[in-house]
Symmetry: C2
Subunit: 236 residues, 2 copies
């Protein structure tokens, strides 16, 4: 009976920890969505909301770390449970960083609202952000259900994000060469594109962890890094 | 007697874990140093060495994670020891990312070697990388000695890195406006500057953890983010 009580309290601890990370995921999804909308509409008020909201995401990261340490110290988890707790700590760190990227995007909205728009790139950035947001939502679902197939699908979608980023990089170079007035806005828009691409990478890392949690196997190392921009130069 | 044996094996486990992270730090320091040297001399051979060497850093990150999980499962550490192990897991993640940034820098050396140099920026980038490398070395020392004062000093130095990055951002904008042939090299050099600035941030995060380990207190939250570029536009 005593044992059962202990087991239940332990289960509740694990569930509470899982609930924290799910909540954090929802907040980060909202941050990406709001930041992208603020960018599209050059809505500085919404951008401000995203910037201020990042504090709550950071606080949740701290809370996950504290709770995880508490559960480890109190319950001495092993094997599967321990793997889950350590994965949750890493998820919190990744989500905190995605939140930072959304905040950084939001910070640039004010500056961009005073600069000329750059043809066509806004819609592409919006779509990229939307895709990453859905990847993150599916990643969280995959984690809840320990669904390795969905996690693998999330990883596969990151290649599209990388491709879009590569095209944008070339587009920005072209716009800047064509008209120097595009240089400053393109520098900021490029930051946003790169940070969005990094969000995709972070979601991919989490998805790899979910596969490990679900199957005990690390995913194949055949994923080639698709950011080709280190090798790119401007079209002649 | 039995207890003493267990305690000693436990201590050896903790020391081995600490030795792993110190080793990883040394490898990452070398990667920063070599990448910066490869950039300065447009030395594609050295750049290649950095790119290939990143696999060993990644492998060490995996090893730290496995060892940490093993020690937690086997020894059920609490309080100070547990905090140290969880900090080491985070250090490994941060160092893995610094290694990635060094690799990314190295990837651009080949492209940059085919582009025109941009006046004055190489020396500044080299100095930034050197400063980050020394920050990392001191951070590791601060961790080994649980030296909160040294860790605080590391954090203070990050403000200089941020300042240098802000100046470089403006310089790149100016060079690009002046001559469109500077656009492509400046885009790549700017990446390198931003990634170096991020390395500094990651070292700073680790230094904050060292202060927490040494004092049990989180450092004051008065550190203002010094990257001012989200608000910057080109000089008129």
């Amino acid at each position: 009976m005593q044992d059962q009580h202990i087991a239940s309290a332990y289960d509740r601890d694990l569930e509470a920890l899982q609930a924290l990370i799910i909540k954090m995921g929802g907040m980060v999804e909202a941050a990406i969505r709001d930041a992208a909308e603020a960018l599209t509409n050059r809505d500085t008020e919404l951008a401000d909301k995203v910037r201020k909201g990042d504090k709550a995401i950071d606080a949740l990261d701290d809370k996950v770390n504290e709770e995880a340490a508490r559960v480890i110290a109190l319950r001495a988890p092993v094997s599967k449970d321990l793997r889950m707790i350590l994965a949750i700590i890493r998820f919190a760190a990744a989500m905190e960083r995605i939140g930072d990227y959304a905040k950084n995007l939001a910070k640039r909205v004010g500056t961009l609202s005073e600069l000329r728009p750059v043809d066509g790139t806004d819609a592409t950035l919006r779509r990229m952000a939307r895709d990453v947001e859905i990847m993150l939502r599916d990643l969280i679902d995959a984690f809840i259900r320990r669904d390795a197939a969905l996690a693998a699908d999330v990883i596969a979608r990151d290649a599209d994000i990388d491709q879009t980023y590569n095209s944008l990089f070339r587009e920005f170079l072209t716009h800047m060469m064509e008209d120097p007035r595009n240089i400053t806005p393109c520098m900021h828009l490029h930051f946003i594109a790169k940070n969005t691409e990094r969000m995709g990478d972070l979601v991919t890392n989490m998805a790899e962890q979910v596969i490990y949690l679900a199957t005990g196997q690390r995913p194949e190392e055949d994923r080639v890094k698709k950011d080709q921009t280190p090798y790119m130069t401007a079209p002649e």
